[in-house]
């Protein structure tokens, strides 16, 4: 048998195999948009300070200057000067920390009653200037601009200028900037990407307190279940822990969080990774800064497999209780203890806001690209359900509003634990440039929808059977048409916290609009205004008798008479307050000017009589 033709055919097949893939790749490379080139640029020595982030809390200024890599032989000392009476006065100096080239400053006894010009200096030439704002305690409305998901890839519109965001933040004169995560998507070159982030946003960051929460992509992995610093080995990292070495994660957190107020419980976790959960009190708003991911358990191998990935549940018939396994952690006890203390502490605070990476539910149904419907995603804070409920119970005791991102899909949810709408509200902001698409698209119309609202709103159960009520979702286009920025539902959020009326207004803006233009439109469903007190006002509750105080806006606390458990603590607005409470329980009411130190009403029940209370 002559096998020569077969041999030739075989060789041809091999040649085709080896040639086709690279050739195809090359063709695709020519068709698709160019990719972002992420390099650290060479800069003049006078420009070696890229940007600076700061917070002021409890009369302590913490400022971190981010430098470009210094050359050998250059000084590692960086100085911080403040302008006083027209003269620059050095208030701190510090050494540059490598790796990462950060220069963290700390100035105690900071006078936050007045604004100060500052400048960061390195060597003889480098000079970076900004403004430390005064604490805006005299403002009725505190404006917090919120961002998430900062893809720089052209395929997502990430190469489009952020100038619209800069202009809008300056026009609304935001008091605080909140970047909820994924400031950096490059999994290996955080410094280069962080410097780019600084070049893009430094103009607004330098002049106002800024909070950046590192999320999964920031620390170099697609999803993050930190498991207190464990090492992850599987693709997707659902086994829990960090994919990159601890030293990499430490560098990321140093760059993004070392200017935060000191952590309330600074014990390190595995691999020498620090923690940063704490609170920031600014403008009479008390922000809890949480770490959703750091302590969270990874699902792989711990929950029954329900889909094509360890963290994805495709089977709609699965038993949600089966994945709520013993020992699975969400926030972790250390953060829950912090929240318990934070919820009771109303010094210099009229309203409370929790900031974290993502929201406490499965806030999307269709994930990714063409992969279709997911019943549930354990990367969300909807899992583990027990941990989710514990977090919400802690937050609602403070009537905290939750501001987050991560989902790549802007939403408003009112969360429920035992009944729909018995816990806090959350606002998930849209991505700056959206890497990964998600849609909120329940199969059944929601119950108890507002008149005229879309079917996807209303009361639902998420994929983990958590009770959620949706009020808005900025779903992207269903087909890839255009596929940049607003067709991918990119944008940013604004939250206006009115400390006088205690109203919270959520705004959700697309990219490249002027938010001050009366004709500019937000995503459907926004703006929405709620009351601070809506964050813990279960439909089944009734009202206790009205309390009238002889001091303005005291702190009131309800304590269950039988269990001694605190139901909630809040600084009321004005002198009159009608506490809401469960109908079948009896409460002792404590109150005080700045702390609930005195029992002012005993054995209060729903429907009780009005009372006058003296706290002078």
């Amino acid at each position: 048998m002559n096998r020569q033709p077969y041999k030739r055919a075989g060789l041809c097949c091999l040649a085709i195999l080896l040639a086709v893939a690279p050739a195809t790749a090359q063709q695709n490379a020519q068709r698709r948009p160019r990719r972002a080139v992420l390099e650290i640029p060479e800069v003049e020595r006078s420009e070696v300070i890229c940007f600076a982030l700061y917070t002021v809390h409890d009369n302590t200024l913490k400022l971190t200057a981010q430098l470009y890599p210094l050359q050998s032989g250059e000084s590692r000392t960086v100085r911080l000067e403040i302008e006083k009476d027209g003269n620059w006065v050095e208030v701190a100096r510090t050494s540059v920390v490598e790796p990462g080239w950060t220069a963290p400053f700390r100035v105690e006894n900071w006078d936050d009653t007045q604004a100060s010009n500052y400048r960061v200096l390195h060597g003889a030439e480098a000079n970076y200037e900004g403004v430390i704002r005064k604490n805006p305690v005299d403002k009725d409305e505190i404006v917090v601009a919120g961002f998430t998901g900062n893809s720089i890839q052209p395929a997502h519109g990430g190469d489009i200028s952020r100038q619209d965001l800069i202009d809008n933040v300056q026009q609304i004169d935001a008091d605080v900037l909140f970047f909820s995560g994924d400031q950096v998507y490059d999994h290996n070159k955080h410094l280069a990407a962080w410097l780019k982030f600084g070049r893009d946003f430094g103009a607004i960051i330098k002049d106002r307190p800024t909070l950046c929460l590192p999320d999964d992509h920031d620390v170099g992995q697609p999803n993050l279940w930190g498991e207190s610093g464990k090492i992850s080995t599987i693709s997707g990292n659902a086994d829990g822990g960090y994919r990159q070495p601890g030293i990499y994660v430490q560098e990321v957190e140093r760059a993004q969080t070392s200017h935060f107020p000191d952590p309330v419980d600074p014990r390190k976790i595995g691999q020498g990774i620090g923690v940063y959960f704490t609170n920031l009190n600014w403008g009479n708003i008390d922000f809890a800064i949480l770490e959703d991911r750091k302590f969270k358990t990874g699902p792989a191998g711990r929950v029954p497999k329900q889909g094509p990935r360890p963290d994805h549940i495709r089977n709609p018939e699965y038993d949600p209780a089966s994945v709520d396994v013993d020992g699975a952690i969400l926030l972790g006890q250390r953060q829950l203890d912090f929240l318990d203390d934070w919820a009771q502490d109303w010094r210099d605070a009229s309203m409370k806001v929790a900031l974290s990476q993502t929201i406490f539910c499965g806030g999307a149904h269709i994930h990714g690209s063409a992969n279709g419907r997911l019943h549930a995603d354990m990367d969300s804070n909807g899992w583990p359900q027990t941990g989710r409920n514990r977090a919400l119970k802690a937050l609602r005791k403070a009537f905290a509003f939750h501001y987050a991102g991560d989902q790549h899909l802007a939403t408003i949810f009112h969360h429920g634990i035992d009944e729909h709408r018995d816990a806090i509200w959350s606002f998930c902001v849209p991505s700056i440039a959206n890497l990964y698409l998600r849609w909120w698209e329940p199969l059944e119309p929601g119950q108890n929808r507002e008149p005229g609202s879309p079917d996807y709103t209303g009361d639902h159960l998420d994929g983990f059977a958590n009770k959620v009520t949706n009020y808005a979702a900025a779903n992207p286009e269903k087909t890839p048409a255009g596929n940049v920025l607003n067709t991918r539902s990119a944008g940013f959020g604004i939250v206006r916290l009115n400390t006088k009326t205690r109203q919270i207004t959520m705004e959700c803006w697309p990219r490249n609009v002027d938010v001050t233009d009366p004709s500019a439109k937000q995503y459907p469903g926004w703006p929405r205004t709620i009351s601070q007190f809506d964050n813990y006002n279960p439909p089944s509750w009734g009202k206790l008798g009205e309390l009238t105080f002889d001091v303005d806006s005291p702190v009131v606390q309800l304590v269950d008479r039988d269990s001694d458990e605190i139901l909630y603590t809040v600084r009321i607005a004005g002198k009159r307050f009608v506490p809401a409470a469960p109908k079948d329980k009896t409460f002792n009411i404590k109150a005080g000017k700045d702390a609930p130190e005195t029992i002012v009403v005993q054995d209060a029940k729903v429907g009780g009589a009005a009372q006058s209370v003296s706290l002078k």
Partner: protein, 296 residues
Amino acid sequence: MNESNPHRLPIACLRSGAFCCFAGWTWVHFYWEGPYGVLLWQDATYDLATRLGLSWDEFVGTGADDGFVQKWIARIWWLYLACTLLTLTVRKTSWVQMTGLVLGSGLLTLLSYASYVAAQRQLPMFIEHGGQMLIPTILVMALALGAGHRVTVTTAIIGLIMTFAGHGCYAIGFWPTPGNFYAMTTLILGVEYPTAQFLLRAAGILDFAVCVGICIPYLRRATAVYATAWGFLTAIARPVAGMSWGLNYWGADQFLHETALRAPHFAIPLFLFCLWRKPGEKEALQARQPVTAELH
């Protein structure tokens, strides 16, 4: 068996390597999901669907149901299972089966391309899959042309060099070293980051030494032994680092296939070593072979 006797062992190496590789990927496609998502959500895909006369909803599903893409991705495991079986049944004269295996190489090439795209088009990600992509074709060549045929050997060397060069590019840091390289080194050896980094850099240098040494006749046997050992160790590193008594099935469903699908990383160098044994070793081995093997 229809393989000529001196080449029986080398071909067995290729068979088992290709079998494990396809079996591992069959498991991925059956139990988990193939990594094709990154290729699908593009304007070009939308255009293709339109040209095929499918609406976008029909193509990718409405969200309420699966579309063309999901249905067919879920069925791909059958192709891998068929290729797995072909690695056992293919013989010198079975041209249909050989063609099937060459197409199997095409499937693995598509997988590697998807991984390459998902890795932000890092070239080493595609290159390091060279051994996996080529092993079915090398098996076909070994059967059709002979295990010792220069085309077969050259292709095997290309596959080995691709695997080790790709791995070396990452380990030495020419492209950013993947975090799981550090993770596995740290977990298995119990070392801190600086030591792990030193070990990875050293391994990267040795990876490139393998690429050179395998081309030098005087060094190639020792190189093939090292490559076999290192290929095996890196293949089993994932289950060793990740499996635990505390996990469901001890984590076997997540980790064992990671070793199986990397079998070509040690099977190809082992194939080359078997070919390049000294004549005395070959004769001794031949003498130990059962006579029946020659009757086929």
